[in-house]
């Protein structure tokens, strides 16, 4: 996989907005203090070897940015969802149909991450939906700072639901809080039923698991009951919805989930 996976500032990423916005709304990133804990005051030079207790989170920088995102979403009474899965599990297809159907009644916005291309942003772009594409370069996940910058480029007036479509990867995104209220993990019927057992951390962190492409499960010999049982064993905390963005099976339940998780105005 990637050789210089991306939390460091050294890795450039791009934000491209496919929406009704003027480029002037792409605000420059405000200067911030470097992340880190501990004393900044000047102390006398060390005479000899010394052990310093630090106890600082290695993800402090990301967690701070996630906190800022969460505060923004909360202040705007927006439901933010972080969609994670392996590549090809159907995130973009599900979102496309969701924006056409659910998005017709409830204003939505999308931030979508990929290593390269703005293909997904083009697929998701609708006149009524602001979409920002984040290209991460070589980074294998979105981090909270990238999402913050993507979101700041969008006109969020009236938006009730923000979908954050993460980079297709079932490993690295697990560790990175983006400030979302709901983490959605997708598993498609084109994968193995035992994927939750093979990639447990991301399923452990899920609030909702979507078993997608159920319309082709039979053809592929995928046993939805076995997959559902594996999900339940690894992620008993998560709600499970089985759906197909093509046939429409299970979509009403997905839309109901979104409606019931909308923050009150």
């Amino acid at each position: 996989m990637c050789v210089e996976c991306g939390c460091g500032k050294s890795i450039p990423f791009g934000v491209k907005v496919l929406s009704v916005l003027a480029p002037s709304l792409l605000r420059p990133r405000p200067a911030t203090e470097p992340a880190g804990a501990g004393p900044t005051m000047v102390t006398p030079p060390l005479a000899s070897s010394q052990t310093i207790e630090v106890h600082a989170s290695l993800l402090a920088k990301n967690d701070d940015a996630a906190g800022r995102n969460r505060a923004l979403f909360s202040q705007r009474r927006m439901l933010a969802l972080n969609l994670v899965s392996s590549p090809g599990a159907g995130k973009t297809t599900l979102l496309s149909r969701t924006l056409d159907e659910f998005g017709g009644e409830t204003p939505c916005a999308v931030v979508v991450g990929d290593l390269e291309t703005d293909n997904d942003a083009r697929r998701l772009h609708r006149p009524h939906v602001p979409v920002a594409q984040i290209t991460t370069g070589t980074a294998c996940h979105l981090d909270a700072d990238m999402v913050g910058r993507g979101v700041s480029a969008l006109d969020l007036a009236g938006v009730r639901v923000l979908f954050i479509e993460n980079v297709g990867n079932l490993v690295c995104p697990a560790a990175f809080d983006l400030g979302e209220a709901v983490r959605v993990v997708l598993l498609s019927a084109a994968e193995g039923e035992d994927k939750p057992l093979k990639y447990p951390p991301i399923f452990k962190s899920a609030h909702l698991v979507l078993l997608t492409k159920t319309d082709v499960a039979r053809v592929l010999g995928f046993d939805c009951a076995v997959a559902a049982d594996n999900i339940r064993r690894v992620a008993p905390q998560a709600k499970l919805i089985q759906l197909s963005a093509r046939s429409g099976e299970g979509l009403p339940e997905w839309y109901d989930f979104l409606r019931t998780h909308l923050p009150p105005r």
């Binding site: 102390t43 070897s49 052990t51 630090v54 106890h55 290695l58 399923f203 064993r233």
Partner: protein, 114 residues
């Protein structure tokens, strides 16, 4: 391999602490990593070797303390240790449990510097 990025964050913290204490180098860096953190200790070691080159931590000993996982059973209202794996079965009642109480730690614990 998000371990490289995580190790870059760790070394930024180490650099800051070494500067703040007017030391010249870190001799030992101790991390606390939960067994559910989604981070591989071996990948961290590899990342440390690569990323620490040319920094105050070059040549330092990297120590990784593993934090065992603990889950919570809402039925029994008690914590229980998770020996291995990601399927948490309450040792009291046998129910499947999803609430993690410990094991997600990803922390720079302490630095020995001179």
């Amino acid at each position: 391999m998000h371990e490289v990025g995580i190790m870059e964050s760790a070394l930024a913290l180490v650099q800051r602490q070494v500067t703040a204490h007017r030391a010249s180098r870190a001799d030992r860096v101790v991390l606390r990593i939960g067994t559910l953190a989604g981070v591989e200790p071996e990948s961290l070691r590899f990342a440390f070797d690569v990323v620490s080159r040319g920094t105050v931590a070059e040549g330092a000993t990297l120590e990784i303390e593993s934090v065992p996982a603990a889950a919570y059973c809402p039925t029994c209202q008690q914590e229980f240790a998770v020996e291995t794996g990601f399927i948490f079965i309450c040792t009291g009642c046998g129910d499947l449990c999803g609430e993690i109480r410990r094991g997600r730690e990803l922390e720079l614990s302490r630095i020995e510097m001179s």
